[in-house]
Subunit: 202 residues, 2 copies
DNA sequence: GTCTAGATGGACCACATGGTCCATGTAAAG
DNA sequence: CTTTACATGGACCATGTGGTCCATCTAGAC
């Protein structure tokens, strides 16, 4: 477990280290990020890193949590509007343009970390799973609101739809990354719309 | 570039090394696999590895290709039947039970490698993209056959549908891996069926 | 102001790992 | 059979990396 700092400068140091590690992992991946890299970017010494994190794996676990927080943070506004056809399309458009901005690099930060850590560290896997849970929950809330307003067929299953939506998005993000082409996510986004449309009240 | 062996024992050696590397990467991931591990499992010496592969990255590129081949191989039969509603459901069932057999570990070998290599090695990224191309092409062929038999609405787009199908599958596989729960892929598979059903002739 | 627990700097270590090299053995072409 | 290019074994090297340790400094409680 990570130890928590007890003084103000300690908190700042821990924050700097975690921030630096999270950035570096996003840029170069887990394997491409050494503790010395982190140390350097965070302007911290080795003993500081090992004061707040038990070892490398522990740091990567914290990075996983921080990454999930960041991803949920960045989409919180748009995700809140995932409760109408317009809002859904706005949400999807935002995701696509985000990938365009990034030149289709990196894929989904959570999904990408999952591929790197899920089989190696159980703690990290759980942290990432929790991130996906929050994401899926946001989608489900929106779809359930849609259902509550009576816009979905009575036999529609918002929870299932939310899960499928998350899957299409993750797949689209992965294809975008591998093919370096944001149009892949666009196609996936259209799939989400089709999926939802199929559940609209006739 | 990998050098090709010119004698029979040379070919066997190269094959053993590539086989061992592919297995190890599937089991422990790219970062968790050292050349010594590979050397050991393949019963080969260091000079043999460096005779047939330029360096570690080159070996990983070859592993990417071999993995794509293996994935396409294992699903070739079922994928060939992806041209009818029954065949599609059989295909999806097979994928799900494959994940059950593996205890929901590892996710999709191609997708998993993508997360580990796409940002680090352009050659590997291209190899994996080619793997996805073949996969998508198989799906498209099936859906196009469905369309050719007039079972899809005239405005349906088999190519788009194939791409969306691949995305849902990859996303479902990723969620399965992170949540250690094959039901995630099941939900995604249901999404595929819904997507296709929505394009059936009314 | 004093005192203690926490924070910091950085030397130091063990070791795994990627990669090179050369001496020797062997396949197969002529 | 001879010859040559290929195959093999493994010693060897340089380096990056995770991790430990201790001496010093300082924040903040009393």
């Amino acid at each position: 477990m990570s130890k928590q700092p007890r003084t103000a400068p300690g908190r700042a140091t821990r924050e700097r280290i975690l921030q630096a590690a999270t950035e570096l992992v996003a840029e170069r991946g887990v394997a491409g990020t050494s503790l010395d890299d982190v140390r350097h970017r965070a302007h911290a010494s080795k003993s500081q890193v090992y004061l707040y994190f038990a070892d490398r794996d522990d740091l990567m676990r914290a990075v996983s949590e921080a990454t999930c927080d960041a991803v949920m943070q960045v989409q919180s506004d748009v995700l809140a509007g995932f409760d109408s056809l317009d809002g859904i399309e706005r949400y999807l458009d935002t995701m696509v343009s985000l990938q365009e901005q990034r030149d289709a690099r990196g894929g989904c930060p959570i999904g990408s970390l999952a591929g790197q850590l899920a089989e190696h560290d159980e703690g990290a896997r759980l942290a990432l799973a929790a991130g996906f849970d929050r994401w899926e929950e946001g989608l489900r809330a929106g779809l359930q609101a849609l259902a509550a307003r009576g816009e979905l067929r009575p036999d529609a299953d918002p929870a299932l739809l939310a899960r499928q939506t998350l899957a299409v998005l993750q797949g689209g993000l992965l294809l975008t990354q591998v093919r370096r082409d944001p149009a892949q996510l666009r196609a996936a986004a259209d799939g989400v719309v089709a999926l939802v449309r199929a559940q609209l009240k006739p």
